[in-house]
């Protein structure tokens, strides 16, 4: 049971970061009742994470910002209460589970919070057992945290928060780094927490559809303002958006990448005798569980690692867009960043590219100050500037709003229409099922075929989470 209740009241809330012109939260007022499930969505940079961090008491104590208005947890103002004390009522689970693990063993990680509360050893033991049991990872208690999969780390992060016994659980894009099975399992866990413990759940998500099964209340933010509220009985499919329409059937051309019976992985074998080819004009989607080797496959094709056996024949120029944009941003301004990748560097040329990426007017702006969506568009543009035949994309849709997803999809289709090929790694099964010409499922037994063949085959094998219906039929 949670030790605290969980009502949140925000009143005329305004939050402005020191280096920003416009407020991240602009006059937001809302009441979240105890035991309620609320999903917050909206475009990238709309203030969702800022709101979570403010409710968690981290702003302005840990993250400098000017704040106005008030947030109350039960009857206490967040601004007037030490954030560590707020933490006993509000648990905050961040997007990247790996980034919030502080210790080296699972059991120690769950005990970390209760130890800080100076609880007795017996009470700590009880809370550790309870937390691990609640998220179903008791069997991992002696494991090293570095050895866990993404889904296991996410469960550990939640277990370590549950050990604090908060009444309110804030989850910031909790499925962003999880494979479809991990994401479904997490949603099941959240449902149980709500039913068994009566916790107040505040979930920030771009993909709202899978959460509808929990009958949440939906809040839509835009530019720091609360622009839409939907009662849980009145959320319509139009409120959560549709995926892209299926593209025209591809006419595949000659193979530009041929993977011939490759094997890779010493301690844990990722691939064995994996073969496929990628053809001009084709989008090949790569799906599979966390840690299954999807990114490794891209690295092998890009020549960053060598297979233990077999060969990869690539008779084409490659462009590679990494999962995290900041890894690929090197220059001091957006204009210079664009200029790295091609001989044509005139101002007109650069402006034309920036306009294509909806980055007009940002030529002199430091790229790392851009929003995540803008950084993603910039890195895709820089890859396209090199005019590659093959585009390797590693999870390009993570943390992207619908508008950005639509832009990325349009660039992918345009690239293929010009005769290019795309190898696209993503956990977004509904999107890939309409976007990709073929799917490659990577696990112990790889499966290759049309999206329909692969998804139906996986469903028949009991892996329903890899079928788009598992996400679309959530309601």
């Amino acid at each position: 049971m949670s030790s605290s209740s969980g009502a949140v009241v925000a009143k005329d809330l305004r939050i402005r970061y020191p280096d920003r012109d416009r407020p991240a939260i602009d006059g937001l007022s809302e009441v979240i009742a105890e035991g309620e499930t609320v999903v917050i969505t909206g475009p990238s940079g709309c203030g969702k994470s800022t709101l979570c961090r403010a409710v968690g008491g981290f702003i302005p104590e840990l993250i400098p910002a000017t704040v106005e208005g008030d947030i109350h947890i039960d009857d206490d103002s967040v601004w007037e209460t030490d954030s560590a004390r707020i933490a006993q009522r509000v648990g905050y689970v961040q997007q990247d589970p790996d980034a919030q693990i502080c210790t080296l063993r699972v059991e120690r990680e769950v005990a970390f919070g209760p130890e800080n509360l100076r609880l007795s050893a017996d009470e700590i033991r009880t809370r550790v057992d309870d937390g691990l049991r609640a998220v179903g990872i008791e069997h991992l208690r002696h494991r090293e945290t570095t050895d866990l999969s993404g889904g296991e780390k996410q469960r550990l992060a939640i277990a370590s928060i549950l050990a604090m016994q908060p009444g309110i659980l804030l989850l910031d894009e909790p499925t962003a780094n999880l494979d479809p099975e991990g994401a479904r399992s997490l949603f099941g866990l959240l449902r149980r927490l709500r039913e068994d413990r009566g916790m107040t759940l505040v979930i920030v998500e771009h993909r709202v559809q899978p959460l509808l099964e929990m009958e949440p209340r939906l809040l839509v933010l835009d530019r720091g303002r609360l622009v839409e509220r939907h009662a849980r009985d009145h959320i319509m499919p139009r409120d959560v958006g549709d995926g892209p329409a299926p593209g025209a059937a591809a006419t595949p051309g000659a193979a530009v990448v041929t993977v011939d019976r490759i094997s890779y992985g010493y301690e844990a074998r990722l691939f064995h005798d994996l073969s496929f080819d990628l053809r001009r004009g084709e989008i090949l989607g790569v799906i599979g569980p966390n840690g299954g080797g999807k990114t490794t496959l891209l690295r092998l094709i890009a020549g960053m690692a060598k297979p233990d056996a077999g060969s990869i024949d690539r008779s084409a120029a490659l462009g590679f867009v990494f999962q995290h944009p900041h890894h690929q941003i090197f220059e001091r301004t957006v204009g210079k960043e664009i200029a790295i990748d091609a001989a044509e560097r005139g101002p007109g040329e650069i402006e034309r590219w920036l306009a294509e990426g909806r980055l007009s007017g940002l030529v002199g702006v430091p790229p790392l100050s851009l929003s995540l969506g803008e950084q993603r568009r910039l890195t895709l543009l820089t890859a396209l500037r090199r005019r590659p035949d093959v585009l390797l994309l590693d999870e390009p849709f993570i943390g992207q709003d619908r508008r950005n997803v639509a832009w990325i999809v349009s660039r992918i289709r345009a690239h293929c229409a010009r005769g290019g090929a795309v190898l696209l790694v993503s956990h977004d099964i509904p999107l890939l099922s309409v976007l990709a010409d073929r799917l490659l499922f990577i696990d112990r037994e790889p499966v290759l075929g049309t999206p329909n063949e692969v998804c139906e085959g996986l469903r028949a094998a009991g892996r329903e989470a890899f079928h788009p219906a598992a996400w679309e039929d959530a309601r």
Binding site: A84, C102, R108, E115, R386
Partner: protein, 253 residues
């Protein structure tokens, strides 16, 4: 928190025993003038490693650069010391004193590095931090050790990713000119630094979000029990110290 059932040897011993083992081995390597005692110390390290389940292959692989450097030290000493009974005197002059001095220096170097590596291999940093906190070291400093260890693989991975990102875009920062150095710093360290700062912010939120620093003291993990492994390890280094004392008394070299 204690060791796990599957742990054996020094892995299941308490951190204080492991600190003692390390201190004695390093102390013997530095203080004992006896070549034989240093050789025995090296044998003790290899024995303790095998007893603790550290495979000989991985132990030697990890120490390969240390071994190469020890050989270099040995050769350099053997060639540079010209006193003593001459064994070879053609292109180079090799004497018994040079060989003994080279062996002594190489063994000292090997014992210090191998014992440190053994310590790192068998001690769980979480347990060590717990022990440090129980010994009265402020817990904030104890957790610095754990967080530092969390960041080592992170930075290694980030550096690899950034280098791969440079390669993808055809960037090969050179450090042969001031401009190249500036570019290498910007192209390599800035992205890694950004990743590091993002990680630091996440860790800070995570720690604060779980009340780290709320009180001057926190519940320390349970004291660890003295086990058979502790007794075995202490006996082992006790015997080594005994031999070292006898060797010093008898003037053995």
């Amino acid at each position: 928190m204690t060791g796990h059932a599957s742990d054996r040897g020094l892995r299941s011993a308490t951190p204080i025993t492991n600190v003692l083992v390390l201190a004695v081995l390093v102390g013997v390597a530095i203080a004992s003038p006896s070549l034989a005692i240093r050789a025995v110390a090296l044998a003790v390290i290899l024995g303790l490693a095998a007893w603790s389940g550290v495979s000989a292959g991985s132990f030697l692989r990890s120490l390969r650069f240390v071994l190469v450097f020890a050989v270099v030290l040995f050769v350099a000493q053997a060639l540079s010391i010209r006193e003593g009974v001459v064994w070879v005197d053609r292109v180079v002059r090799i004497t018994d004193v040079g060989l003994l001095a080279g062996a002594a220096m190489a063994l000292r170097f090997l014992v210090i590095l191998a014992s440190s590596f053994l310590f790192v291999s068998v001690v769980d940093p979480d347990r060590l931090a717990g022990a440090l906190i129980r010994w009265g070291i402020p817990y904030r400093y104890g957790y610095l050790l754990i967080l530092s260890l969390r960041f080592v693989p992170f930075f290694r991975r980030e550096l690899r990713i950034v280098r791969e990102a440079q390669a993808v875009r055809g960037l090969r920062p050179s450090i042969r000119s001031p401009r190249g150095i500036r570019q290498a710093i910007r192209y390599t360290f800035v992205p890694v630094l950004v990743s590091g700062l993002m990680r630091v912010e996440s860790i800070a939120l995570s720690m604060k979000g779980r009340c780290f620093g709320l009180y001057p003291r926190r519940t320390a993990p349970q004291p660890e029990r003295f086990r058979a492994a502790d007794a075995g390890a202490l006996c082992c280094i006790g015997v080594l110290v005994g031999f070292a004392v006898i060797a010093a008394g008898k003037g053995w070299t």
